[in-house]
Amino acid sequence: MAGVTAAPASRSSAASYAPGAAFIFKKALISALVALVLFSLMIGVRTDAGPDGQLTYWTRFGDLAAMVATVFGGSIVVELLRQWWGPVGTVRIVPPSVQSGLAVARRAIAPLLLVFTFLVPVIFYNERYILDLGILVLTYVMLGWGLNVVVGLAGLLDLGYVAFYAVGAYSYALLATNFGFSFWICLPLAGILAAFCGVLLGFPVLRLRGDYLAIVTLAFGEIIRLVIINWQSLTGGPNGVTGIPRPTLFGIPLTPGDDGLAAMLGIEFSTTHRIVFLFYLILALALLTNWVTIRLRRLPIGRAWEALREDEVACRALGINTTTTKLTAFATGAMFGGLAGAFFATRQGFISPESFTFHESALVLAIVVLGGMGSQLGVALAALVMIGGFELFRGLEQFRMLVFGLAMVLLMIWRPRGLIGHRAPTVFLHHNQAISSDLVKEGHG
């Protein structure tokens, strides 16, 4: 009996493979044909000026054949990849065993990445460059997670996020240099001040949506930068703030002196200690951001943010105060930006308005969009790709931007809703199933 019922099922699943394979083959063939037409003149025939200035040409059919074969093969690979990671509902021609294997791999990404991050200072202890890069990536992961609250969850497009980063950095720098406050007192103060600025920005933009909201937030970022440049007596203007104290391990400085950490532990002093300390500090701050965001998503405020992104009118009909909901989203995102800013100031030891240009806002926003709006893992991966990948292309020199831009365009064509486009529900009864990005709204600002 079981055999009888199983047979049609397997036949029907085999039948669903066939059109997929034929479709891929046909698509690859068309791509190869287009490549043949294009490349026959571009690669197949090569012209040059001869020794007497006359036109000479020679053929390179071998190269042409190689190119067409590459396009054919590449087209099949791309199509297969699309079937694997494509959105829910596409015809999947990959065997279920491979699919479940991929699902396991996908679940394992986050813990593996976390363990690896913890081990980075151990593995690369002697490679200062990698440690510095790691700190940079983690800073952007934290900024991305902070902005994700505003853009990804609440659906409010914020192009001036760098303003909060700057407020945090200057809060720490000025409090520490003027009043001698320690890093651990200044850190929460920087967060609170940035959150306050978030509310300040929030009020005038409550009624704005979409493009208009983006423009006002963009202007806000510029206003903060211009204030910093022009308020010379307080901020030092374009010269910035120098001599910002380094962080201490709860009062124990990481210096070569007798009261330093190295002397207390009885080990030889090394400047790497400070780098490793900074690495774990930003990792802790980033993980705090992540933890709080994940918790908030499961609380009524987080659900209200997401509901606001989905439909603001329905929110109001359900008695949700959209004003405070928006303001808390701005304030929470800004607070994390401020904390990251304080870290930036203590790491650099010197800050100036040049560090807080629109370019930074755009970069952080790109990380959030590329990661998949709302996805914590996606944002972390995107920060790794954007910051780490950018370093990877360093060898290409002046083509670096070009290649990087092309890579981003290709990625957005392949995954228009970001690396991780699915939305995980915040609460479930029976099974925790991801929601297709087709249904999730991007928010109207």
């Binding site: 009524p300 659900r303 609460v427």
Partner: protein, 277 residues
């Protein structure tokens, strides 16, 4: 008529520039009864709804909501989310407005926002995972489950609302409105786009809501089978004014109503009726 009114609309007017959408409308809805607001397209029914639920500020007139404990609230003085939060008036929309990217369960959880916000100590108690918050969250999930069961969507609780069939979305929106525990439930064309079987199920649901939850319902509806079957009181509007009011039976035989729906004079309507009988 002066019995136990939950909502009394008194001389309500709504003008958009020179256009008078609602003119001097007076009617009342009784507690634990279903009041239907009907009329041809463009009669101003949805405008009345938008005034009651705070999406429009009326140009004139008053909207008085009387709670069971005698507390009176002037709706035209409240705006926006406060109508739902303080006056406990819930509504659904003519074109469904669910949160499509959230699951059915999440939709119902969002509806309990204000109660949960209080329970989570404005987020702070929830952030540290206080036991009182956990208990409140569990109660909220139980209430959601109860409503999902009532509308027959318990098995699809974890599906995205946008993936549900149309009829289920309509019912989910009603359940979501009920999760705010309203005193007055305003439904804007709940039967639009439903087939006969789904309409019948909807009528049953609305009658059950009235019987079990003591909610008063105000509904706009074009589906006369639903209106005639479940309403206790019918108010008919045309061109922004009330043209008739009464029980479904009275309304069915009112020549003014028939004239409005046929777009004919009253005399012609009477003639048609007489020739028919």
């Amino acid at each position: 008529m002066s019995g136990d009114c939950i909502l009394s609309v008194d001389r309500l007017s709504m003008r958009f520039g020179g256009i008078v959408a609602v003119n001097d409308l007076t009617f009342s809805a009784e507690r634990r009864k279903i009041t239907a607001l009907i009329g041809p397209n463009g009669a101003g029914k949805t405008t009345v709804f938008n005034c009651i639920t705070g999406f429009y500020k009326p140009s004139g007139g008053s909207l008085k909501l009387t709670h069971g404990d005698g507390r009176e609230i002037q709706l035209e003085r409240l705006n926006d989310f406060r109508i739902s939060k303080q006056a406990r008036v819930a509504r659904t929309f003519q074109n469904i407005r669910l949160f499509p990217g959230m699951t059915a369960l999440e939709n119902l959880m969002v509806a309990q926002h204000n109660a949960l916000m209080r329970a989570s100590g404005l987020t702070f108690l929830g952030l540290i995972g206080a036991p009182s918050w956990r208990a409140a969250e569990k109660r909220a999930i139980d209430l959601s489950k109860l409503w999902l069961e009532r509308i027959g969507l318990l098995a699809r609780a974890d599906d995205a609302a946008g993936n549900l069939p149309y009829g289920d979305q309509r019912r989910l929106e009603i359940a979501r409105a009920m999760c705010t525990e309203p005193a007055l439930l305003c439904l804007d064309e709940p039967a639009a786009g439903l087939n006969a079987r789904e309409s019948a199920a909807l009528s049953e649901l609305l009658l059950a809501i009235r019987a079990d939850h003591g909610a008063s319902i105000l509904l706009i509806e074009h589906d006369m089978s639903v209106v005639m079957e479940i309403s206790d009181q019918v108010v008919v509007m045309d061109y922004g004014v009330k043209i008739a009011e009464g029980t479904p039976r009275q309304i069915r035989d009112d020549p003014k109503v028939i004239a409005a729906y046929l777009g004919a004079d009253e005399d012609e309507a009477i003639a048609v009726m007489e020739s028919g009988t």
